[in-house]
């Protein structure tokens, strides 16, 4: 058994409740079931374009656009959405957003009801991991899915650790699936 399956950072040992690994395609299928989607874009999103060749804000925007989701992002990253006009955008830091998500009585940024799925993408690995930990422990009913390149054991669903190429290709396949089925 390799520890690599269960986490990215070596000491990030988690359990007993570990995220289900999903393929990008299955992530797409899972997301299509969502009726109220929140896309949480982390502070590392812009760097990923340089490092891994994935344009995270674009992925987030396509996701939100196709599934009627809301995007929340903090400064810097938020700026990348300036040209996006057909998606609901919230400017807020991750911890602030997660503090709301963990409140079961919260009715969402628009007051219309709880989000049935929160997608996390573009986060600093250890920071994202802790935000997912908060939700796992204190909002066990809040479903979360990590689309980041590294496995996040604290999410409800997560991609496995992937190479940049596989990640990029997987996200593409997922988005195409979404866009095709629409």
């Amino acid at each position: 058994m390799s520890a690599k399956i269960t986490s990215y950072e070596t000491a990030e040992i988690r359990g007993p409740k570990l995220a289900f690994n999903l393929t990008p395609e299955n992530c797409g299928r899972m997301l299509m079931r969502s009726k109220r989607l929140l896309v949480v874009v982390g502070g590392d999103a812009l760097k990923m374009k340089v490092a891994d060749g994935v344009d995270v804000p674009e992925v987030a925007a396509r996701l939100a656009r196709n599934l009627g989701g809301t995007i929340v992002a903090s400064p810097g990253v938020f700026k990348a959405f300036q040209s996006v006009s057909d998606v609901k955008l919230i400017n807020m830091g991750l911890e602030d957003a997660v503090n709301r998500l963990k409140d079961e009585s919260w009715k969402g940024f628009d007051g219309m009801g709880a989000y049935d799925m929160a997608v996390f993408i573009g986060g600093l690995y250890y920071f994202q991991s802790m935000m997912l930990s908060t939700l796992k422990h204190f909002a066990p009913n809040q479903k979360t899915i990590s689309l980041d390149r590294f496995y996040h054991p604290n999410a409800t669903f997560s991609l496995e650790n992937l190479t940049p190429d596989k990640w990029k290709a997987g996200l593409d396949a997922m988005l195409q699936l979404l866009e095709a089925k629409k």
Partner: protein, 777 residues
């Protein structure tokens, strides 16, 4: 001065006394009695401020991020606490995180209390109990925290002892509460954590005013000298003595000895971490190697002939690392005996001989002896030093050929630097990626441990960056200690009125991602915007390690006053007492509030009126969390950088929850909306952009005058636009009336307000305390 009654021998009917000295320490000198009435909570016990804590925690409830799913505190365990499960002792994850929060703050407070003990006892031994507390002629309120919390006005070193006794007792009680089967409610754990934080702050002040008073450290002057800092600033041609830790006593004794012998000029005395700051406060000829991120790097360079370690923030591998490059080690503290033979009772001759021959690492628990021994041994050892002991750069870099690009190093790096890629690039002689890593690396050495090919990764980073290391030579303004009462008188009104948009303190450890540039850019931005910028500890060191486009360090660029558009370095971590003390002094000097034993009222004042925020972009240590938590209890919000999430706890408000933002209007006792100001007490930010916007938001206070709010809002909106690209979603929550709006922004903002259904409100005289209501209607 104390009165001393000596009884040599008393043999009465009732008692027999021999050699009894009674020193009555609290006798108030004639004509100088402290007339300030004692408030409700002098020397508060661990529940005395529970009411205040409950009030602030109701608005800013703890937000927990567990680092681990289980608890391993007792032998019932390990217990799985996932998602609401209770452990065998009945505790659940929320309370367990509260316990961690308390434990973290208690460890921090215990460090500072112990440090304060050590330095006070050392100084009393050297200068006597009666040595006066004197932190500067322009500082009347010599000890705002002691006055506020203990309710005493210390006049001499000996007066600090009762504060230390109080600290010990409270820390012990709080430590007890972390055991299994003790406290059980998260809110009470946090109340105790806040108490620990307050004790921590108190200990800081005890330690720093003692050393400022007795060692002649700067007493609040703004124009302390600029001294050298950086790995490249150390003159390797001289014998080098390196001091690591927090207690200035041994290092200062080195300087004393060298000065006595007239050889100070020919020996380099340098420090890392807080001892470094205090050494430069003691003597401007001392140098600072850097913050904690430089500890392993520099020790490994082998440049030091003697390494003196005292207490706190000393790497656990430093003795082995030093010995492996031939550096001799002297441990000096009970806190870190490091398994070394205790030579305290030997003569200096014997110790020097041992160090130079068969015992290259020793324990000597006597600062004066350390001073002599270190100086003599360094001078003798220096000629033996092969400059930069160990391997040559090329030899180190040759190791990279073994790299398999397995990326274990990256996966072990606390900030996930892409070090594997960089090592692999070096294999093909491309050193650039390694040099880039060098700028961001926090020098923790975890990559070394991870590499299955035994590549000494950190040494590789350094070997690739020799040129950069040589360039690491900057200036830092020497820590100046207290903020002067005169300064408070100048800035008190503009701060409370909001004309100075806020006080921003950059504090904490150097374990941030993004390197020190991120920190410097933030400080630069706020200084440029004419906030008062304060700094201390490793953050103060790291701020120095950056030059702007003109080649200036921030300390060269900005003056050292406690005033708008200045950058004040107070000094080591214990000097954090001064920015905290400064906000207390604003309440006292500007607003004329009583301090003495009056914690709640002052905190209430600060929370509602003083726009001060601390940014601990790095906060590695338990002490950092304790300091932050102490500031929180006083009503000062703190922002942590992303690594701070691993302290596991924030205190978050919810801006849209209007009920939480109601304050009492002291004028008529009515509950009125004060706005989410400040919105959070402890917030962990992911990026510097988020940090800057958040800081600009957190300086707002319900009490801001229209002019003040205008200036704060203008900075907030401006930064928000600059960094988010948009108008803030919450701008309407901060506009009480149109007069709050900057003229230039009115056209922009008013349509937004209308769209969001904004209505004007009155500016209250805000308080959270019933008893502060002047008159009820």
């Amino acid at each position: 001065m104390a009165t001393k009654i000596s009884i040599k021998e008393l043999d009465s009917q009732f008692a027999k006394i021999r050699g009894l000295d009674l020193v009555i320490g609290k006798v108030v000198e004639a004509g100088e009695e402290w007339s300030e009435p004692v408030g409700p909570t002098p020397y508060p016990d661990i529940t005395a401020l529970r009411g205040w804590d409950q009030r602030i925690l109701a608005r800013y409830p703890p937000f927990y991020s567990p680092l681990s799913d289980f608890c391993e505190f007792c032998t019932y365990g390990k217990c799985d606490l996932t998602a609401g499960k209770q452990g065998a002792c009945g505790i659940d994850m929320e309370a367990h995180q509260g316990k961690w929060s308390l434990l973290t703050c208690v460890m921090g407070a215990a460090c500072h209390a112990t440090h304060a003990h050590h330095i006070v006892e050392y100084l009393i031994k050297k200068y006597g109990e009666d040595h006066p507390i004197d932190v500067g002629s322009e500082v009347d309120i010599e000890a705002p925290l002691i006055r506020l919390i203990a309710g005493i006005k210390p006049k001499k070193l000996g007066d600090l002892k009762e504060v230390l006794t109080y600290l010990d007792n409270q820390v012990t009680q709080l430590t007890s509460a972390t055991a299994t089967g003790q406290e059980q409610s998260p809110i009470d754990y946090e109340s105790k954590a806040l108490h620990a934080g307050m004790l921590d702050n108190l200990a800081l002040e005890v330690a720093d005013i003692a050393q400022v008073s007795a060692l002649g450290l700067p007493k609040g002057n703004s124009d302390t000298p600029l001294v050298e800092i950086g790995m490249g600033a150390i003159d390797k041609s001289k014998p080098v003595i390196l001091c690591v830790g927090h207690n200035v006593a041994p290092g200062s004794e080195v300087i004393n000895y060298l000065e006595d012998k007239g050889t100070y000029g020919s020996v380099e005395v340098a420090g890392i971490c807080c001892t470094a700051h205090d050494l430069t406060r003691y003597s401007k000829n001392a140098k600072i190697v850097g913050p904690i991120s430089r500890q392993l790097m520099f020790v490994r360079s082998g440049i030091a002939d003697i390494l003196i370690i005292d207490q706190e923030c000393v790497r656990a591998d430093v003795v082995d690392e030093a010995r492996s490059v031939g550096t001799r080690v002297i441990a000096t503290s009970d806190q870190i005996c490091a398994g070394l033979p205790d030579l305290t009772d030997k003569t200096p001759d014997e110790i020097v001989k041992a160090l130079l021959t068969d015992t290259p690492a020793v324990l000597v628990r006597n600062p004066a002896k350390v001073g002599e021994v270190a100086a003599r041994a360094a001078i003798e050892a220096a000629p033996q030093r092969k400059s930069e002991k160990g391997l040559k750069d090329e030899q180190v870099l040759a190791n990279t050929s073994r790299c398999t690009l397995c990326r274990e190093c990256t996966e072990n790096c606390p900030i996930n630097l892409d070090i594997g890629y960089a090592v692999n690039a070096a294999k093909k002689s491309n050193l650039e990626p390694l040099q880039k890593i060098f700028q961001e690396c926090i020098g923790c050495g975890r990559c070394d441990e991870a590499c299955p090919q035994s590549i000494p990764v950190l040494s590789t980073i350094n070997a690739a960056s020799t040129a950069k290391i040589k360039e690491e030579k900057f200036t830092i303004r020497v820590g100046r200690g207290p903020i002067r009462d005169t300064e408070i008188r100048n800035v008190g009104r503009p701060i409370v009125m909001g004309e100075i948009p806020g006080v921003i303190a950059f504090v904490g450890c150097s374990n941030y991602p993004g390197g020190n540039e991120d920190l410097a850019k933030m400080a630069d931005e706020f200084a440029k915007r004419r906030y008062i910028v304060v700094t201390s500890g490793c953050a103060a060191s790291d701020l120095a390690r950056y030059r702007d486009e003109n080649g200036q360090t921030l300390y060269e660029k900005y003056p050292g006053d406690f005033d708008a558009g200045c950058i004040v370095n107070t000094g080591s971590c214990v000097s954090n007492a001064h920015p905290i003390g400064a906000v207390i002094k604003i309440a006292s000097i500007f607003a004329k509030r009583n301090l003495r034993g009056n914690f709640e009222e002052i905190s209430d004042y600060i929370l509602n009126r003083i726009g001060a925020v601390a940014i601990a972009w790095g906060s590695q240590h338990q002490k950092a969390m304790a300091i932050a938590t102490g500031a929180n209890r006083l009503g000062v919000p703190v922002i942590l950088g992303p690594q701070g999430v691993k302290h596991r706890r924030a205190y978050l408000g919810r801006s849209e929850d209007n009920e939480k933002w109601m304050v009492l209007n002291a004028r008529d006792g009515k509950k009125v909306y004060g706005g989410p100001a400040p919105e959070h007490l402890l917030y962990v930010a992911e990026t510097i952009e988020e940090t800057m916007v958040m800081a600009a938001r957190l300086v707002m206070r319900p009490n801001d005058t229209p002019k003040g709010r205008m200036i704060k809002l203008s900075n907030y909106i401006n930064l928000h636009k600059q960094l988010y690209g948009t108008m803030p979603d919450d701008v309407q929550r901060f506009v009480r009336a149109e007069t709050d709006l900057p003229v230039t922004m009115k056209d922009d903002v008013i349509p937004v307000l209308k769209e969001r259904g904004w209505k004007p409100i009155e500016i209250p005289d805000p308080t959270l305390l019933d008893r502060m209501v002047l008159r009820r209607e």
